[in-house]
């Protein structure tokens, strides 16, 4: 018995020692694939990726002759350089960004997309929120997907939503050394990027640029908010615009979400001039009020701001979107609104027989990717929606705008949304919602 125990113990230790060798071997980076990446090498990677994306990813064709900005460096919390960000310039104008790793144990291209470069967004929010903000003084941090932030000192940072967040003391990146080495090899060999499979591990951030963001936050901030007030004695359509509404101060999440989508298709230039302008406020409150009316949004004390899902026998979200153009034209003829109207709108819900109201609906990644790639923000009808990555929520039964996604060319990890509750982007993990959640595709048709 004793001899048997001793033999088993020896075998056990032998296995232990051998397996530790195997583990150690797998952690050794392949020859020439250790160390940090110089800015010159990063530029070369970004340029190659630019060419690859322009010929392999739908809607990135305009990157073919694009130029790159000077790199912006990001750091890990311990001070080591983590990434280089390049703004992609098409005809001299920003048209997305590429984030290249600064260490060879990370995949060469970490993230890319058509949205605003994270450093630009951080700069914009930092200038507004941090006293004496200077890019040279405040280090930019990146330590994993979507972890962009500005270091404030004392273990604190400001994230891309402008919130103060603690800086983690340690970070752990879950990377496959073999895949990372293969990906670097594809860039290092002068043959260009041929192994698309390797690159599919990169995270793609695709956001439709300049989708107007809006909330009727007068609801909780009262006179300090950007929306209009409620409870007035005027009747529709005399309330259309920033004037107080006859209904509740909260106009309803579905009209607010649909208004952002229609504003994107109609007059994005008003938003591009800045969301603090009087014209933007007038335009957005007008759209919200009209949609509140066409959608038949409830004003009763039992269902304030409630809008039926598509397929309801009376007015609902889809009816409201589809009848928007005729109602807007009617008000324009009466001189109540003045901006031009370019499109009619078709609302296509992803529900069996279009009866979302009766049977609920479904949501597919392909539909989201197609809508975003076609530059069509979509209405997301959340059923029992969870919270966003930054903690906003839970959303419950709520309507939001999908403006983009984080994933790769055929899967979605996060949806980029405008929640209608504030003026920021939020990231909602794919599937963090109930089974009846569905999309409403909003298709503009030229008038």
């Amino acid at each position: 018995m004793n001899r048997l125990s001793t033999r088993m113990l020896v075998v056990f230790f032998a296995v232990l020692v051998l397996s530790s060798f195997a583990g150690a071997l797998s952690l050794v980076p392949p020859k020439g694939h250790g160390g940090s990446v110089t800015p010159a090498e990063a530029i070369s990677v970004a340029q190659m990726y630019l060419q690859w994306a322009s010929s392999n990813i739908p809607n990135f064709e305009d990157w073919k002759n694009a130029k790159l900005s000077r790199p912006v460096a990001y750091y890990f919390p311990n001070g080591t350089r983590s990434a280089y960000e390049f703004t992609v310039l098409v005809n001299g104008k920003p048209d997305g960004f590429i984030l290249v790793a600064a260490q060879r144990y990370m995949p060469p291209v970490l993230e890319f997309g058509k949205g605003e470069a994270p450093s630009r967004r951080l700069g914009r929010i930092g200038t507004a929120r941090i006293k004496g903000f200077l890019r040279e003084r405040h280090k930019l941090l990146y330590y994993g997907a979507l972890s962009y932030s500005v270091e404030l000192g004392n273990g604190k940072a400001m994230d891309i939503y402008g919130r103060q967040v603690p800086v983690p003391k340690t970070t752990k990146l879950a990377l496959s050394p073999r895949q990372v080495a293969s990906a670097w090899r594809a860039f290092d060999t002068d043959t260009g990027i041929s192994d698309v499979g390797v690159l599919s591990t990169s995270t793609l951030t695709k956001v439709i640029p300049n989708v107007p963001v809006w909330t009727e936050d007068s609801y909780w901030t009262y006179t300090r908010g950007v929306g209009d007030l409620g409870g007035a004695s005027t009747s529709y359509p005399n309330n259309v615009g920033p004037k107080a509404d006859p209904w509740n101060i909260w106009d309803g999440c579905t009209p607010i979400a649909a208004a952002q989508i229609i504003a994107y298709h109609e007059h994005p230039e008003i938003y591009e001039n800045g969301y603090y302008t009087q014209e933007y406020k007038e335009y957005m409150t007008s759209l919200v009020d009209i949609l509140h009316h066409t959608m038949g949004t409830f004003d009763t004390k039992d269902k304030k701001g409630w809008t039926w899902w598509c397929g309801y026998p009376g007015s609902d979200a889809c009816d409201g979107i589809e009848s928007f153009a005729s109602e807007y034209q009617r008000l324009k003829d009466q001189g109540i609104v003045s901006w031009s109207l370019k499109n009619n709108y078709d609302a296509q819900p992803t529900c069996t027989l279009g009866l979302c109201w009766e049977f609920g609906g479904y949501i597919n990644e392909d539909d989201v990717i197609e809508e975003v790639n076609s530059y069509r923000p979509a209405l997301l009808q959340l059923h029992n929606g969870g919270s966003a990555a930054d903690g906003q929520g839970p959303y419950g039964d709520h309507s939001v705008v999908i403006t983009g996604y984080v994933g790769n060319s055929n899967t979605v990890d996060y949806l980029v949304i405008h929640s209608g509750w504030d003026m920021y982007d939020h990231y909602l993990t794919w599937g963090n919602w109930g089974s009846h959640t569905h999309l409403v595709k909003i298709i503009p048709e030229k008038r």
């Binding site: 939503y161 919130r163 936050d217 609801y219 909780w220 909260w250 309803g252 999440c253 579905t254 009763t300 004390k301 039992d302 269902k303 304030k304 701001g305 409630w306 809008t307 039926w308 899902w309 309801y312 026998p313 009376g314 979200a317 979302c356 109201w357 009766e358 609920g360 009808q381 959340l382 059923h383 930054d390 903690g391 906003q392 929520g393 839970p394 959303y395 419950g396 039964d397 709520h398 309507s399 509750w421 504030d422 920021y424 009846h436």
Partner: protein, 157 residues
């Protein structure tokens, strides 16, 4: 009279289908919003929007109306088939009206309704054909009522 016994469930079906749309939702749904004035937008939510099925006595009477009409007709005509159909419909509609108060689950409520309708048909019917008519007469209007009520919670605020 046999034709009437087949037609009445269909009339009841139409009645139960139209009723929730024709009267204000306040008769059977209670709801409201609770908002947080100090919400700053960094996390959490600015309001909670809630709805709950809560049928008022008038609403319950209106839902049961087809069954009540049959039972009143029985008093005048003394035809036991009218009474049996009225009772079968009464039990099924009562189950359909009250079950969602405790659990708003379409499949569970449908199964419960099916059990009540079948039991009523078996107990009250004289032969197999009669049992089928009674069970069907209670189940059909009850099912449409459950379908319409469960959908009344599909929206966003």
């Amino acid at each position: 009279m046999k034709l009437l016994r087949i037609l009445i469930p269909f009339f009841a079906f139409v009645w139960e289908l139209m009723l929730p749309f024709k009267i204000p939702v306040g008769y059977y749904i209670k709801g409201g919003m609770v908002w947080f004035e100090n919400w700053t937008g960094s996390a959490g939510r600015p309001y909670v929007c809630w709805t709950k099925y809560s049928p008022s006595p008038i609403f319950i009477v209106l839902v049961l109306l087809p069954a009540l009409v049959l039972l009143v007709s029985y008093i005048f005509h003394r035809d036991s088939s009218l009474r049996n159909l009225g009772l079968s419909m009464l039990f099924s509609l009562l189950a359909a009206t009250m079950a969602p108060v405790f659990m708003l689950d379409l499949s569970i409520n449908s199964i419960l309704l099916m059990l009540v309708s079948l039991s009523s048909g078996i107990v009250l019917g004289k032969d197999i054909g009669d049992r089928v008519i009674l069970a069907f007469g209670g189940f059909l209007p009850g099912l449409v009522f459950i379908l319409v009520i469960s959908a009344q919670f599909h929206g966003a605020c």
